[in-house]
């Protein structure tokens, strides 16, 4: 692993060389940004339909044409789909978004495995805490 020492400011320590292919490209980052934005819209839209707490889509009231359909699907969803499934699907989308940010924006995909371990351990630990707290009688 080629390292150089540099003499200015923070960088008084070995620095990894960044090759041109080290990591994603400009296009990739923006594609991921679009995916993230769309996923957010999906999340909010799904929540609107499945839970009935929000207006049609993201708080915007439905145009009259769609209002009927929305109310029916809303009623159906609240009746048939359990809270757990709703929560599960929301969290899954959120986790996918988070994973994209971690892997590509924080560059973890291209980093050494040690950093994966360092970042993953707290999640494992805290899930134990979370489970113990959720089982609170």
């Amino acid at each position: 692993m080629a390292t150089t020492t540099i003499s200015k400011g923070l960088a008084e320590q070995p620095v990894e060389h960044h090759d041109a292919h080290h990591g994603g490209s400009f296009r990739l980052y923006w594609v991921i940004a679009i995916i993230l934005l769309l996923a957010t819209v999906l999340e909010v839209g799904l929540a609107s339909v499945l839970k009935g707490e929000l207006e049609c889509v993201a708080g915007i009231p439905c145009p009259p044409a769609l209002a009927e359909t929305f109310e029916q699907s809303n009623a159906w969803a609240i009746a048939t789909i359990s809270d757990g499934v709703v929560a599960g699907s929301m969290m899954t989308i959120a986790i996918v978004k988070a994973a994209l940010v971690i892997l590509y924006y924080m560059h973890l995909r291209y980093e050494k495995k040690l950093l994966w371990v360092i970042f993953a351990i707290p999640f494992g630990l805290v899930s134990l805490l979370a489970i113990a707290m959720f089982l609170n009688p």
Binding site: Q13, I121, P122, L125, V126, L128, L129, A132, M133, L135, N136, P137
Partner: protein
């Protein structure tokens, strides 16, 4: 115009020699007295708004100090505009002044931690003696509120401002970089920040003595709703929470620094399995600090919000749950007790081989035991909650993990015994304290395993049995190791030898006082005496009196150590590089080491405990016939 302003500001900055002399502390002290006077002026029992205002003002002034904030802001502007600051040509502070400055040298910082922790040790000890004074005889000498404040401050100060900073901040900071052969920590400026975060944390804790209503009084565990109620007596409980929040960040930053230093800056030849055990223990401790403390921070945030704004997180009537605090608190505080014991184990893993002149028995087993303790420490926390309204089905798994974690500690005990077996023992003060740890920790460990069993814990929880257990492991364990470390590393850190005869007196008086104080607690606890009560049933009188006598003996014995250190500074013998003939790297340089620790970078070719040792028994012949052949 801008230029004149900039010139004036740069000269203002340049003329403050106090920039080098810790202006923050002075400013904070002055301004904290101001805050306290303002709080007093508000009258006996402040209202909620006054509490909040006082606390906010207190944090702001304590942490920042008007002077520091001005300096930082001006400094930022000048740096951004690239104006030169003409510092007076005084250079780095020399001598004692270094220890009051923002030094980035890990050795200076280690010594800053050392004296700060030691001062808090004395204060925490005084709190303990006040507790024991109350409990010497039945009936009340102090008020119950005062009693609650004594034991709360005793626990809090000893844990967060003595044991953890002394073991990690003082010994860890000073010794670990030397042991891995490097010239400083990975982030020297963060190291400075780490110490200087402890200072306002400590000051806030001290300030709580002077506010109306007095200090915190809900125990070091601060369970709501008791703590929320206590916060209505005065700002003391709130100051407690904020103080620990700040001290916690000191711990996290320190832990992060240790890990990066150990992972990236070991000298050539110092592979992971050539690191001394002290460094290994500090490494695992650092992991616990980084991961665990943040949970405590989250809990403190919730408590502080509940105290200042009356948020209902812990109020069942409004939808909250006190049990949630217990989970979040113990999720940190259990690893915290391992933060307190692992470096202690590290210290005696250093002294025992040296003073047995024998290689450490089972180096790898000790390393894996340390890592095992680290991992397991995160999955035992609810054993502090067996009698809380924990889901019953959750209790059994925690009992199992609690039993499990005793095993690696047991491995360590056997390895230390194995190290000493057939060795040539030097029973100096450091070794005596190390031996005391081995035996006292076994007692403390066994009482812990007993309480790990749910049926037993149901009877023993919140009795003096618990107090006995914690003091056997924390005083008999951590504090004895700290003493062992002081007698071992004092020559290296301060360049003077401590007097052996005074040390032996210190040891025996401490050992006898310690056992006199804490052994009977097992009995009174098992007989039903509750902890944290200012009074007790008359049948416990004789034993409590004995305990108090022991405690006072233990307390006054520490004065011998203080006298010993004072004498060493005044008239002590100059220390050589390696007074004990040890083999770890910190002894391969002068006492104290030069600014960059070593004259030349070292390359390690030997194990840390490779003493010449000839076994006194004949090894078995290679080709012994198998039985039944």
């Amino acid at each position: 115009m801008a230029k004149t302003v900039r010139t004036f500001l740069s000269q203002f900055l340049g003329r403050i020699p106090t920039m080098r002399l810790g202006v923050g502390v002075v400013a904070a002290l002055v301004l904290m007295s101001l805050t306290i006077s303002i709080t007093y002026a508000q009258g006996e029992v402040p209202t909620q708004e006054q509490n909040m205002a006082g606390a906010v003002l207190g944090i702001f002034l304590a942490l920042v100090g008007l002077g520091m904030l001005t300096v930082v802001l001006i400094g930022f502007v000048l740096w951004a505009t690239q104006t030169k600051i003409p510092f007076l040509p005084q250079g780095e502070p020399q001598g004692i002044a270094r220890y009051f400055s923002f030094s980035t040298d890990h050795k200076v910082i280690g010594i800053q931690y050392f004296w700060t922790s030691f001062a808090f040790f004395i204060l925490g000890g005084i709190m303990a003696l006040l507790v024991r004074w109350e409990l010497a005889l039945p009936g009340l000498f102090f008020t119950t509120t005062q009693y609650n404040q004594f034991f709360t401050m005793h626990g809090t100060i000893m844990i967060f401002f003595f044991i953890i900073p002394m073991l990690t901040g003082a010994f860890g900071n000073y010794i670990m970089p030397l042991q891995i052969g490097t010239f400083d920590m990975a982030f020297p400026k963060l190291n400075t920040l780490s110490f200087w975060l402890l200072v306002p944390g400590g000051l806030l804790m001290l300030a709580s003595y002077f506010v109306p209503g007095g200090t915190a009084q809900a125990g070091w565990t601060a369970y709501p709703p008791l703590s929320i109620l206590a916060s209505k007596q005065g700002p003391g409980q709130l100051l407690w929470g904020i103080s620990l929040f700040i001290a916690g960040w000191s711990s996290i930053v320190g832990g992060m620094n240790f890990l990066v230093t150990i992972m990236n800056m070991r000298t050539k030849g110092m592979s992971y399995f050539r690191m001394p055990l002290f460094t290994w223990n500090i490494a695992v401790t650092a992991v616990l600090q980084v991961l665990g403390t943040a949970s405590f921070a989250a809990g403190l945030v919730l408590q502080v919000m509940a105290m200042t704004f009356d948020f209902p997180f812990f109020d069942p009537v409004r939808g909250g749950s006190p049990l949630l605090w217990q989970h979040v608190f113990w999720f940190y505080s259990h690893p915290a007790v391992y933060i307190m014991i692992l470096p202690a184990f590290g210290i005696i893993s250093e002294t025992i081989p040296v003073f047995s002149r024998k290689p450490l028995f089972g180096y790898r087993a000790l390393v894996f035991a340390t890592c095992g303790i680290g991992v397991l420490s995160f999955v035992v926390w609810a054993h502090h909650m067996f009698t809380s309204a924990l889901l019953p089905q959750l209790r059994l798994p925690f009992m199992l993990t609690t039993m499990l974690i005793a095993i690696p500690s047991g491995v360590k005990i056997f390895n230390w015994l194995g190290t000493m077996a057939f060795g040539k023992l030097t029973l100096n003060t450091s070794m005596l304290f190390s031996l005391a740890l081995v035996s006292m920790f076994v007692i403390g460990g066994i009482s812990g395993v007993m309480m790990g069993s749910i049926p037993v814990d149901i009877h023993l929880h919140d009795t003096y049995f618990v107090v006995a257990h914690i003091h056997y492991v924390l005083f008999g364990g951590s504090a004895f190791a700290i003493f062992a470390g002081i007698y071992y590393w004092f020559p290296k850190m301060f360049g003077k030898m401590l007097d052996e005869r005074m040390g032996i007196w210190h040891f025996w008086l401490s050992f006898i006082g310690f056992n006199l104080a804490f052994l009977p607690m097992h009995a009174v606890g098992a007989l039903g005496m509750p902890r944290r009560y200012a009074d007790y049933a008359p049948e416990f009188t004789e034993l409590n009196f004995v305990i108090t006598v022991g405690a006072f003996l233990l307390g006054f014995a520490q004065l011998i150590l203080v006298a010993n250190m004072a004498y060493a500074f005044a008239k002590g013998k100059q220390a050589v590089d390696n007074p004990w003939g040890a083999r770890t790297l910190e002894w391969m340089t002068s006492s104290p080491p030069p600014h960059h620790n070593f004259e030349e970078p070292l390359t390690v070719e030997h194990d840390p405990y490779d003493y010449e040792w000839n076994p006194p028994y004949k090894p078995l012949p290679e080709t012994a016939p198998a039985v039944g052949d």
